[in-house]
């Protein structure tokens, strides 16, 4: 242990009860920090080898297409539904508030900016994290506990190149595509609300919405899912490859992966937003 050994009870007797508690908590903090930094280190190493795998032979094209189908096509229903109802809910909320300021004509633009910059990328990534990240961890975790990952290594195949790189490529390609789809459906949802509840005309909504689709907004809306796709694939694969403890361990690591991926998506969303605002000088 790196910290001095000390009897907490003795310190309590000396009149420093909180010190005793602190000394007893130190080993726990130490273990937690060690686990945390080991996790960060392992994630960094996995990122490096997974990205390096993109440029090294052999190229597993079949696996990449399979993963694109699973991640992309498989996530379509959930992403479309999420986009539609998020767009509708957002449009209702904004319509109610914009009436107060007599700014109903800005509904399309307000919905467009919110969806393209923030809600579309984040909601799509969170839904895909719940579905795909969990799937990746459960699949690789099951392979780990049934020694299939060891078998790959024994047979001379690099598990990162074979299993992680195709998932990474498919996630960073398909998540932006899914986000664009989700954004489009959300805009249609907003349009339905504007026509049926806010009684706006087709041209009024779409001409206002068109102002939201600037190059900067669209770039921000596509760069975010690219980063989120990276997070989903790497976090899912990392926890999958680390899984131990049988089927119970698979469940535990899967939950952990979804929680970590979702949290990282929200953190990185803030960081990218801040960066883009600094770059483009958007008014805050």
């Amino acid at each position: 242990m790196w910290y001095p050994r000390c009897d907490g009870l003795l310190l309590s007797h000396l009149g420093y009860p909180y010190m005793g508690f602190l000394w007893e908590a130190l080993p726990l903090v130490n273990d937690y920090l060690k686990r945390f930094f080991k996790d960060v280190q392992d994630l960094a190493v996995l990122c490096f080898w997974a990205v390096a795998g993109i440029f090294r032979r052999p190229f597993y094209l079949r696996e990449i297409i399979e993963q694109m189908d699973l991640l992309g096509v498989g996530s379509l229903p959930i992403v479309i539904l999420t986009g539609l109802f998020a767009g509708m809910a957002l449009a209702i909320q904004l319509a109610v508030e914009l009436v107060v300021f007599g700014a109903q004509s800005y509904l399309g633009r307000a919905v467009g900016v919110s969806i393209v910059r923030e809600m579309g990328p984040v909601l799509t990534a969170l839904m895909v994290a719940g579905r795909v990240c969990a799937g990746i961890t459960a699949e690789l975790g099951s392979m780990s506990v049934s020694q299939q990952i060891d078998a790959l290594r024994v047979l001379g195949t690099d598990p990162v190149k074979k299993l992680v790189t195709p998932r990474l490529i498919s996630a960073i390609v398909m998540l932006p595509v899914l986000t664009v789809l989700s954004d489009s459906v959300a805009m249609i949802g907003g349009y339905l609300v504007s026509v049926l509840i806010s009684h706006q005309s087709f041209p009024a909504y779409w001409s206002s919405a068109g102002q939201a689709f600037t190059g900067q907004n669209l770039f921000g809306g596509v760069i975010k899912p690219f980063v989120f796709g990276f997070i989903i694939a790497i976090v899912g694969s990392h926890y999958g490859l680390q899984t131990e403890g049988g089927t119970r361990g698979v469940g535990r690591y899967t939950t952990h992966a979804v929680v970590v991926a979702s949290t990282l998506i929200l953190i990185f969303n803030f960081l990218i937003t801040k960066l883009l605002i600094s770059l483009y000088g958007w008014r805050t």
């Binding site: 052999p58 392979m143 049934s146 020694q147 299939q148 060891d150 078998a151 290594r153 024994v154 047979l155 001379g156 195949t157 690099d158």
Partner: protein
């Protein structure tokens, strides 16, 4: 293995193990659960690293080799995992063909070799079946076929190849291990709880207790060993 010690999860699993296995030899490693038997196999494959000591495969020290260089060393070793560790998303044929396809061998050659090897383990008819459709014994035989397809092994490692199998199937697996030694002249290391199966195939026996070697010798020497643990293990195993 030269003075190898290994710790897993903070617990010492192997302590100062020195061991050499010769070509054409079948070594059975016996011992209670948690005595470090499987860890020896994992160390030979460099799936884990020792804390200290050296491990040589075919004269090459492997304990500090980077993962990429280990791929070449592992091509000399065939491994049969406890439950087979077959890829459950692939058919039997695809499992056996996996290492061949990874090596970039042509499809015609792959198909021919897969059929030949599956014939060797008497499972030619299962080529299109999925692993979940196979019995435990069939899975082990497919795992042996896959290990043979991967390379022309100098060493075969078996992790509890007969555990959970009925006596007839166990016997067929043991026969396969003996045939492999006779035909391919490979050195084999078999980790097992079953003394019966060990006596059927092994030419040499090694008993582990709490991470240390407490016996290394022939079957006859094992039967007459005076160590109380070995005597108890021997008596209980043959009941």
């Amino acid at each position: 293995m030269d003075h190898v010690s290994c710790t897993l999860g903070g617990k010492p699993v192997l302590r100062d193990i020195s061991l050499a296995v010769q070509e054409d030899e079948i070594l059975a490693i016996l011992g209670a659960s948690g005595s470090g038997k499987t860890t020896i196999l994992r160390l030979i494959l460099a799936l884990i690293r020792p804390d200290s000591g050296q491990i040589f495969v075919d004269g090459e020290e492997i304990s500090r080799l980077p993962e990429r260089k280990l791929m070449r060393v592992r091509q000399k070793i065939g491994m049969v995992f406890q439950e087979g560790a077959l890829f459950d998303s692939l058919t039997v044929g695809e499992n056996v063909a996996f290492p061949l396809r990874e090596a970039g061998i042509s499809e015609e050659a792959v198909e021919e070799r897969v059929r030949k090897i599956l014939g060797f383990v008497n499972l030619a008819e299962t080529i299109d079946m999925m692993p979940e459709e196979l019995s435990g014994g069939m899975k082990r035989r497919v795992a042996i076929a896959r290990a043979l397809a991967a390379c022309d092994p100098r060493v075969m490692l078996y992790d509890e190849p007969t555990v959970g199998l009925d006596p007839i199937t166990s016997h067929s697996i043991c026969e396969l291990i003996i045939r492999l030694r006779e035909i391919h002249k490979v050195c084999s290391i078999m980790v097992t709880h079953s003394l019966n199966d060990a006596f059927k195939v092994a030419t040499r026996f090694l008993v582990l207790k709490e991470g240390r070697i407490i016996f290394d010798g022939t079957g006859e020497e094992l039967k007459s060993a005076q160590d109380p643990f070995i005597q108890k293990f021997y008596q209980w195993s043959l009941r």
